[in-house]
Symmetry: D2
Subunit: 399 residues, 4 copies
Amino acid sequence: MTLAPQPRLGVGMVGYAFMGVAHSQAWRTAPRFFDLPLTPDLTVVAGRNADAVRAAADRLGWRDVETDWKALVARDDVDLVDICTPGDTHADIALAALAAGKHVLCEKPLANTVAEAEAMVAAATGATGLAMVGFTYRRVPAVQLARTLVEQGRIGTVRHVRAQYLQDWIADPAVPLSWRLDKQKAGSGALGDIGAHVVDLAQFVTGETLTGVSAMLETFVRERPVADQFSGLSGTGSTSGATGPVTVDDAAVFLARLSGGGLATFEATRFASGRKNAIRLEVNGSAGSLAFDFEDMNVLHYFDASQPAWEAGFRRIVVTEPEHAYVGAWWPPGHGLGYEHAFTHQVVDLVDALAANRQPTPSFADGLQVQRVLDAVERSAADESRWTPLNEPAEGAAR
Amino acid sequence: MTLAPQPRLGVGMVGYAFMGVAHSQAWRTAPRFFDLPLTPDLTVVAGRNADAVRAAADRLGWRDVETDWKALVARDDVDLVDICTPGDTHADIALAALAAGKHVLCEKPLANTVAEAEAMVAAATGATGLAMVGFTYRRVPAVQLARTLVEQGRIGTVRHVRAQYLQDWIADPAVPLSWRLDKQKAGSGALGDIGAHVVDLAQFVTGETLTGVSAMLETFVRERPVADQFSGLSGTGSTSGATGPVTVDDAAVFLARLSGGGLATFEATRFASGRKNAIRLEVNGSAGSLAFDFEDMNVLHYFDASQPAWEAGFRRIVVTEPEHAYVGAWWPPGHGLGYEHAFTHQVVDLVDALAANRQPTPSFADGLQVQRVLDAVERSAADESRWTPLNEPAEGAAR
Amino acid sequence: MTLAPQPRLGVGMVGYAFMGVAHSQAWRTAPRFFDLPLTPDLTVVAGRNADAVRAAADRLGWRDVETDWKALVARDDVDLVDICTPGDTHADIALAALAAGKHVLCEKPLANTVAEAEAMVAAATGATGLAMVGFTYRRVPAVQLARTLVEQGRIGTVRHVRAQYLQDWIADPAVPLSWRLDKQKAGSGALGDIGAHVVDLAQFVTGETLTGVSAMLETFVRERPVADQFSGLSGTGSTSGATGPVTVDDAAVFLARLSGGGLATFEATRFASGRKNAIRLEVNGSAGSLAFDFEDMNVLHYFDASQPAWEAGFRRIVVTEPEHAYVGAWWPPGHGLGYEHAFTHQVVDLVDALAANRQPTPSFADGLQVQRVLDAVERSAADESRWTPLNEPAEGAAR
Amino acid sequence: MTLAPQPRLGVGMVGYAFMGVAHSQAWRTAPRFFDLPLTPDLTVVAGRNADAVRAAADRLGWRDVETDWKALVARDDVDLVDICTPGDTHADIALAALAAGKHVLCEKPLANTVAEAEAMVAAATGATGLAMVGFTYRRVPAVQLARTLVEQGRIGTVRHVRAQYLQDWIADPAVPLSWRLDKQKAGSGALGDIGAHVVDLAQFVTGETLTGVSAMLETFVRERPVADQFSGLSGTGSTSGATGPVTVDDAAVFLARLSGGGLATFEATRFASGRKNAIRLEVNGSAGSLAFDFEDMNVLHYFDASQPAWEAGFRRIVVTEPEHAYVGAWWPPGHGLGYEHAFTHQVVDLVDALAANRQPTPSFADGLQVQRVLDAVERSAADESRWTPLNEPAEGAAR
């Protein structure tokens, strides 16, 4: 399939579950809609089960398979390693890939601990390959527009941020245990899984960093059914009657200070009945305000405080105009995009950076900085919600 | 004007500014739409300036005037003293009124300090007169419906509350000083003025109390123009060039724990550009969720988690049906009410309680409990946001 | 009760049902919030049942009663006759009042037939008194803002109007007959009762008139229970089993041409399940668009087509700023108004016009023009929806 | 690329503009997310310009090219002809394809005239191949849910439909002429381009057909700039100063009767400033109501009239649950889909039908029925909006 005379970018993906499916669609789709300086070649996907990974490769469009990620990393035809596994394996794979001179795209959170994340940043610094962490929601056009308006000074001095990531998929105590509820595998619960996203979004949109937090964590349902071995992780299957402990947080709430002096409230929960994937960000500034909700992802609400009060109001901008980031490559105005498009945009930005030998954003250092916020949240929550300051962003953070 | 054979309730109101106007409209209007067991008689209004109070009395419908509130309290034709003055005078007036055997309706916050509020509760306990504090937003029909749904178990165990009171009237640093920005007069800033309302609302709707807080306060604009003596408090008049300090908070944010184990986030600010009077309350529980925003005050959003997921969704209930609290006395379905109607409903509930010699709610003890929350917020904010537990509700709290 | 030294305006109201209650509240409230050049005196209310009208007078605040409207019209202490009766009596009362030199405020629709309306306009022309028809929704501040934006040229050439008045109170076939379903009393059904409002609103906001219509009328439920004599008109009481015919339309839909060349669609129905009082008006013009829904009556949505597409969007203007029509007399920003406030505003505008001896709007001629539209709708619907042109507006129309 | 052992379906696509891009993405993506009984093989794409079609083939993923659609139709490796050209060529290509024993997927509107559409239906009847017309919006999950609720009786007897398709891309008179404004190529303007969609949607969701119409058509801007030969069809390029006539309608509005007795209003326009692709459908029935707006395409609003009025309200169903049509193949709840997903769903349904040798829907007969509605609209508009009845649906209509 000769798409274009552009050089080839050999991609090897590790993991093929939810994130692997989304990344595959992005690698396949990006060159169909965007002019890429490198042509992604879906070379190989790795997974431990030979039959399953072969079936996934066929389904998702990967040419070859490996049952050991180390073999994938070692291949000469792989230029970039795309890490779509749970967080406890990110550091090992990324370190090996960078050591092998590969580029790396690593799903968020960067790692399960600050120490791992630091090691990853250290490895990325000076490595031949370029490294990026997958805070995909930055690539939603409405979020890009929010960032643009802040950059243009349309919001002014940021006074308030309220950031929420609300889901409800384990609000029912009958939902059984799974790896996402296991601290060993997942690192943390709602905090790292979804809280990490809104921390990144708040910092990305405002262009500021958090300088400290005061936090609470809670596990509402501390014991859950063990999923029957035959029912898998489906969450609703019949169970054996046995139960096991939930070792991560169900919800995290915290206050924070922004580097520009503003106040922020954060909330990440899997217990907000009726909210399915409500990523909400509201920013109030001296010159205007912004509001976004992923449940209406093609829309940004913007208030311009410079207009006379009698005709001012939050403006519902349908972010589907050709001038909006990424949108010109897709459809006419009013024809909205969906969840997976942000992954395609991530591929576009990553490939552009690689071709220019430019650090893609968010970098591993950006991922580490988010990790430090999560760590500070945990420490504050363990210490009577006491104010817990954050250090300056790591050297090399690209934000 | 013979409205009905019901006994007369002589009302004396102290203060006739914003709150006095709203209360007057309520006293005048309640008997026109509701069957009251006592007929309010707008007997006398008190204010220090003789001409101004006379003009206000004519405008607002009060028969007589006094220039000293003590004279008002002493009058035999006054059965109830309605306190509409700034917070620093609440305690004195209420104590005198209760000592004189009068009923008392006192605007919120109950007082500027916990000590004053405690004295007021002590005075109310065992007094001949009955005492009520004016958390008026409880009387919005949509808020009543929210409470009803919680009482019916339709929300289940409360997991999350997010409560916000967002305004923007001093977001512009050019807005001059006024008594609301003076700690001596106002006690606190956004915290006591509007934060008190959402604390009360959150507790009222959930039927729970806050057991502790972790808080931050902020004054974004610490120096403001002194209003020109000729420009008054209008906020936009020309000023002399002199400035003075803002001695209260511009914004308050805090985390809290509910007595049932849920997590809550609170935010009260006068710096949320574009939000005019956005009192927002969202409650997520194991059986359902609620969402309210005063900017659309005739509507309550309700999610019923017992419905099959494929047909479940937040239901936009237009709270204008005859079965809804208070609504049957007004207009047909779909003909919404406005801000001041809640004050009329407050009169209705108060008069009903007085006629039955029943403690009206919210009581002074309820007001004291809110005051204690505000106090804990200030102490936490002054102590590195450290977790600050709250004592049990005072004896006699009617909640 | 000495409100002010302004001259007295003696008001006599005929009818005291739904509209009478709303008008009474307006007469009582207007001088409390607005500076009126004349002081309304709620002199007398007329109704056929002596006991009932006396009770209503006490409840609603009228000093005296009459059991014959002719006696009311004849009184020297009555300067203005306020007609709140069903449409079949409007003409008689208005003609008598004008003949007696009184001012007249007449509820809409002006009359049940064009002939009656023409007689009323003729009587108003040259009469001593001034006459106004009560298209109250014009006085909602958001509607006034819509009109202002059109007048300022912010909408440009009007291309489209879509106007709907949606209710659902007789969607259930078990709802019994009442006078509103009887052509003799009501003149027409949804068409005259609520369709008249959106015809007036569309013309008022655009500043244009309809030049022709193509229409359909429908009676979905042609036979309904006769209300039991003991169950009254409540609509849900037990019934005798007898049924009777519905002689008016349940719904009206029509196309229209605006005088400026735009296209309009109109819909009035009592069968829109879930829509309680949804008065919706959307106007699309060459320079911008407007959208209003009475179910969120304090809000106007405005699209400014002159903004760059990437930052353009419908702006949700909360119409509660002091600069908005009428609003400055009420509450601070964000404290919304309700249904009945529009009646208070109607009193304000009427009294201002009377004091200045200026024709109030909408005039009887405006009411006649709406009546002619309704008549054209009926004629088109009876003639295969054929295009039915409208004559020019009557002489003297104040629009 | 061996996806699976399923038989191959050779696809030949004619045209590769907007619709060709959307169809290509669908053919590529469907087998990645859905289990298809046949494996689509993107065999060949046809276009008149050899270089351009080759570039398009590479970009869109088609193996081979033809510069004459007749050659494409003649190929043995093509099982299905996918027609993505303007309406004036649909009939010729479809007739040839069916004659050659191919399956056909034809973009809407089926043809530019009723006569052509009738010929296409005749050809499809008894042909070896199966034929489908592309009313893609049916495949939006929220639209499917709307249909399901109607089928389950949750809406009851349909009383009202209001259907609108609102765009604004030629509201500016400076937008130059293009083939879509040329009656020869496009057949009609807004009526056939977008009005056809809402006619199909209204009939699909209600399960009823239109029995007659009363209509108006309008061309607001009758003369437009001729696009400079170098500026192409971009719509904003510099122009030579020459102008030419617009020969199609800018907007269409019409009333209709549904076969079940309900009333409908329709509106299709390219002049609704601020509305980008607002496909709105509201259905009011005796048992409930539905409302959909494509600008929020993952949501359906549903009112259940069987609930007690005090807790009833329009329910905002986020249509992203695994039980919703097509959704289970994509992402977790709350992760919305975009415009192009409906094309993927169209491929899924078509391939399923082909494998089962079952008539896919909507059939050519369904397309003809819509064409007859459009024709009746034009005849009514040309005859004083007179009521124009429609014949019964053609034999063989699959709806």
